[in-house]
Amino acid sequence: MDDAKACLTIVAMAGVTYLTRSAPLLALAGRTLSPWAIRLLAHVPASVLAALVAPALLRPDGRFDVGLGNVVLWAGLAAFALAVRTRGFFGPVALGMGIVAAARYFLG
């Protein structure tokens, strides 16, 4: 993709991102969504995040792998456990990256 087209893509990305952040604040100020829509929307983040991360952990090279050699999976489980415990953000990411980097350094 050439630079101009990439730039256009980025501007469009910014547009849709801003829409998700501003629409409820600007359009819904004072009003409320229907409870039905709120409850459905409330389940989108967990589901979309899980749908995005699951293949990265379980199919790191495009095929299903739950073996010991799949360091991303084991680092991911450790990071997830820490995140559930601490509700932290940076700690779990750093722990996972540390495990993956160490495994690659020591195990090749």
């Binding site: 993709m1 630079d3 990439a6 730039c7 256009l8 893509t9 980025i10 501007v11 469009a12 990305m13 849709v16 991102t17 801003y18 998700t20 952040r21 501003s22 629409a23 409820p24 604040l25 600007l26 100020a29 969504l33 409850r39 459905l40 929307l41 389940h43 989108v44 983040p45 967990a46 589901s47 979309v48 995040l49 899980a50 749908a51 995005l52 991360v53 699951a54 293949p55 990265a56 379980l58 199919r59 299903f64 680092a75 991911g76 990071a79 997830f80 995140a83 559930v84 509700r87 932290g88 953000f89 940076f90 779990p92 990411v93 996972g96 990256m97 495990i99 993956v100 980097a101 690659r104």
Partner: protein, 238 residues
């Protein structure tokens, strides 16, 4: 007034904002670096790499987009995926809306531009303890984004010496981020059901060779599953 809280005085606002933003910046700088390195490798120009951190300012969406740019995905597919990944911000904004009552439209517009998972968490906690200073709120947002853009620039600078970044586990930054965000979402059985359904459907789609919009569709279907579980639980007599 003689005894204003220190953060209402001009210079004090900046200092207070700095100390409140520090924990966010400690997460943003390294992940921003990972984004900068990977985006540079994906063939985006340095200007475009920085532009994305300035205009989009959404870490997970930016890292997903980098993967899509690298694989030569179409513009529409990158934009649609960005929208889906950032849909969660609708909820953060909706939750913030009553807390920002009385703000002017243009102040809300400025606040929305820098509303992220982390800034939402910080402001929700601050507002909860009665600290609702507008200047401080907006200064925190600007400083947090500055740390993200600064991290991006650092990533561009060190990109050449880091190779493909695998030795530094940069490829784990995105899944690690998603897992940390996911952990924060799992409040209650219906949320867990939504996550399990989303993950299972996404893996199924991947196994069938459906990529691109597969994870997206799986995510939306999973949300419907979680919603269904919640409705079913509410009907069940306890």
């Amino acid at each position: 007034m003689q005894h204003q809280p220190p953060h209402i005085l001009g210079k004090g606002v900046f200092k207070a904002a700095l100390s409140l933003t520090l924990p966010i910046a400690m997460g943003y700088v390294p992940v921003g670096m990972a984004y900068g390195v990977l985006a540079g490798k994906a063939g985006l120009s340095a200007v475009n790499v920085l532009l994305m951190s300035v205009l989009v300012y959404a870490g997970s969406a930016q890292l997903v987009a980098v993967g899509l740019f690298a694989s030569g995905a179409a513009l529409a597919s990158i934009v649609a995926t960005t929208f889906a990944v950032n849909l969660r911000h609708v909820l953060f904004a909706a939750a913030m809306s009553p807390l920002l009552r009385g703000w002017r439209k243009r102040e809300l517009a400025a606040f929305a531009f820098e509303l992220t998972d982390e800034s939402f968490a910080l402001h929700a906690a601050r507002f909860g303890r009665g600290d609702r200073d507008k200047g401080l709120t907006l200064t925190i947002n600007v400083l947090a984004q500055a740390s993200w853009v600064g991290g991006t620039a650092l990533g561009l600078l060190v990109g050449d010496v880091m190779g493909d970044g695998r030795a530094f586990a940069l490829d784990f930054a995105l899944p690690g981020m998603f897992l940390a965000l996911l952990a924060g979402q799992l409040a209650g059985p219906s949320q867990v059901a939504a996550a399990v359904a989303g993950a299972g459907l996404s893996l199924g789609a991947a196994a069938l060779g459906i990529t691109g919009y597969g994870a997206l569709a799986a995510g939306l279907a999973g949300a419907a599953c979680g919603f269904g579980v919640e409705k079913w639980m509410m009907r069940k007599p306890v």
